[in-house]
């Protein structure tokens, strides 16, 4: 299976990655190569095989809903690209 440039543009939008126009053809070709390699899977009959999400078939462990961490708001905000008054700043979303 291969991917078209139009499909790739849609996927890049979903992934929030801006594609450089000059490299779209190259990226499309490389990803089509990868998909062709992956297609070896389609030759295998997997009818009735239970998908495996965790290699030990473990399920998510739950814990009590209790506060265990201390408040480190200042330390976490200090590494943000832009913050003000205890808030993360991003470009205006609502006009």
């Amino acid at each position: 299976m291969s991917i078209s440039e139009e499909q790739l543009a849609r996927v890049a939008e979903l992934a929030r990655i801006r594609l450089d126009e000059a490299t779209v053809a190259e990226v499309t070709r490389r990803i089509s190569d990868i998909l062709a390699m992956i297609d070896q899977m389609s030759a295998v009959d997997t009818t009735g095989v239970e998908p495996m999400a965790n290699p030990l078939d473990a399920t998510q462990r739950l814990r009590a809903d209790e506060v265990t961490e201390t408040d480190r708001r200042e330390r976490f905000l200090a590494i943000a690209p832009l913050s003000e008054d205890g808030l993360y700043l991003v470009p205006r979303v609502i006009e």
Binding site: I17, I31, I34, M37, I38, M52, A58, P81
Partner: protein, 484 residues
């Protein structure tokens, strides 16, 4: 001093033959002198290391020393270190100073280890040659025109060049075992869940596992024992006791059943690698093991299944890098979408973007069943192969990589060619079983690794086999020429 084993360093420190400050200074000086030729380190924090060494000396004097007190260590730059930049080989995290330690870092610090610095790696651990690092490729100490392997290439080069006695590393599809093979080291990827993933920057969460790159199985056993164990902060951590890996190293191999998958000695294997691995298997027979051929029939599908599962998980894990809370943000974003899309376009390198795109595609509406679900079904078939094999044998052995170290640029132009570098290592990640690589020979002056795979939580056994092998051979003692 830089040739000493971890056990020898420990006892010398305990007997005050040298201080933690002296050995730490020794390694820092070696890094300063030799690393400009290798690029194994991304960050070296001399002051923090010296302060750690002084604290270790004080603990040794006070009798409060932990089990690895004063032992210098390098951490792969994927493990968060409180107050020390953690880049993950990416421009995206070029300015990221974590506000906390990874559990692995915390445990080794509690044991007394002194952090020398952070080692270079393929960007977000995606690569098999260290060529995808934003901070430049690492050179193989055995031949600086060749790659050290990846993604833990910085840790491997640092330990091989004696710039650190031991290093932490991670393995999602072979990122400990393949660099171990290419740099002549002993590298172990434990059972999935054996070592905490907390604070280890996520690539593919159902496959990622922390481990060790060391110069011997005995060193690896000692360090793994200090790293492993249940961590409530990792939701897939295994709640099982950690055995004393050092205590079982000398166990006799008589009667041990070793299976060699016929699929691993295939046409794609370099003839020199095959000869070295076969000689290694013969040595294990002389040590009392019974070696026989087995089959892991679905192993040819491990690369395709992995290149759906790993990119799919990577595409979701790396969604967190959005330029809002930490990491890189593009200049002058026009709006929110532009900020996300350009920060990610500029912050990630080509291979990382490629995998995010493949993963996003595989998980997108209409393709999920054909790709992700199918890959997870094949993952089960691969895991069942191991289960069936381990009913008949105790350990599985074979090559760790298809060939010795290759030249820069030789495989990096074609992603699929590079992906095949991990053809023998990926299956252990898919099945979650522990595996290691041990030096088994030299081909044209370059190291070759033999892989040993064990049952779930049977790290002790593969370390035992590796140790007995190293008692009978000296491949692990060979060192790269040109590095004093």
């Amino acid at each position: 001093m830089h040739e000493l084993s971890l056990e020898a360093i420990r006892s010398a420190l305990a007997r005050r033959e040298f201080s933690a400050l002296e050995i730490t200074t020794h390694f820092l000086d070696r890094i300063a002198r030799i690393d400009p030729r290798l690029n194994a380190f991304v960050t070296v924090d001399r002051e923090t290391a010296l302060a750690g060494a002084r604290a270790a000396d004080a603990a040794l004097a006070a009798g409060t020393a932990g089990p690895l007190c004063g032992v210098p260590i390098a951490h792969k730059d994927i493990f968060c270190t409180d107050g020390m930049r953690t880049s993950c080989g990416s421009r995206m995290l070029g300015n990221f100073v974590p506000p906390y330690d990874a559990t692995v870092v915390e445990r080794l610090a509690a044991a007394g280890c002194v952090t020398l610095g952070k080692t270079n790696m393929d960007e977000f651990a995606m690569g098999s040659s260290n060529e995808t690092s934003y901070y430049g490729p690492v050179r193989n100490p055995w031949d600086r025109e060749r790659v050290p392997g990846g993604s833990s290439g910085g840790s491997a080069a640092a330990v091989a060049a004696r710039l650190a006695p031991v290093a932490t590393a991670t393995d999602t599809g072979g990122s400990i075992r393949q660099p171990a093979a290419l740099c002549g080291l002993t590298g172990i990827k434990p059972t999935y869940g054996r070592v905490s993933r907390h604070g280890m920057i996520a690539f593919a969460s159902s496959l990622d596992q922390g481990g060790v790159l060391a110069r011997s199985a005995a060193d690896a056993a000692l360090l793994l024992g200090a790293m492993a164990g249940f961590d409530p902060r990792d939701s897939t951590s295994i709640d099982a006791p950690v055995p004393d890996y050092c205590a079982s190293l000398d166990a006799d191999l008589a009667g041990l059943r070793i299976g060699v998958p016929k699929e691993y000695l295939d046409a794609g294997l370099h003839p020199g690698t095959e000869r070295a691995v076969r000689a290694g298997l013969a040595e294990l027979e002389r040590l009392g093991a019974r070696v026989r051929e087995i089959s892991l029939p679905h192993s040819p599908l491990s690369v395709p299944a992995y290149y759906v599962i790993a990119p799919a998980e990577c595409s979701t894990n790396l969604a967190r890098f959005d330029g809002v809370r930490y990491g890189y943000r593009c200049a002058d974003p026009q709006d929110l979408f532009d900020m996300y899309a350009r920060s990610r376009a500029e912050g990630f390198g080509d291979e990382v973007k490629r995998r995010i795109l493949v993963g996003t595609y595989a998980l997108s509406a209409g393709y999920y069943d054909a790709y992700y679900r199918k890959a997870q079904q094949i993952r089960r078939l691969i895991a069942q192969d191991f289960h069936a094999a381990f009913a008949e044998v105790d350990v599985i052995a074979g090559p760790a990589s298809p060939s010795p170290a290759f030249r820069f640029g030789e495989k990096s132009t074609d992603p699929v060619t590079m992906y095949l570098e991990d053809i023998y290592t990926i299956a252990a990640n898919l099945a979650g079983v522990p595996a290691l690589s041990v030096p088994v020979g030299l081909v044209d002056g370059l190291p070759v690794g033999m892989q040993l795979i064990g049952r779930h939580l049977d790290e002790a056994r593969i370390l035992n086999v590796a140790h007995r092998f190293q008692q009978a051979t000296d491949w692990h003692l060979r060192r790269p020429g040109g590095i004093d």
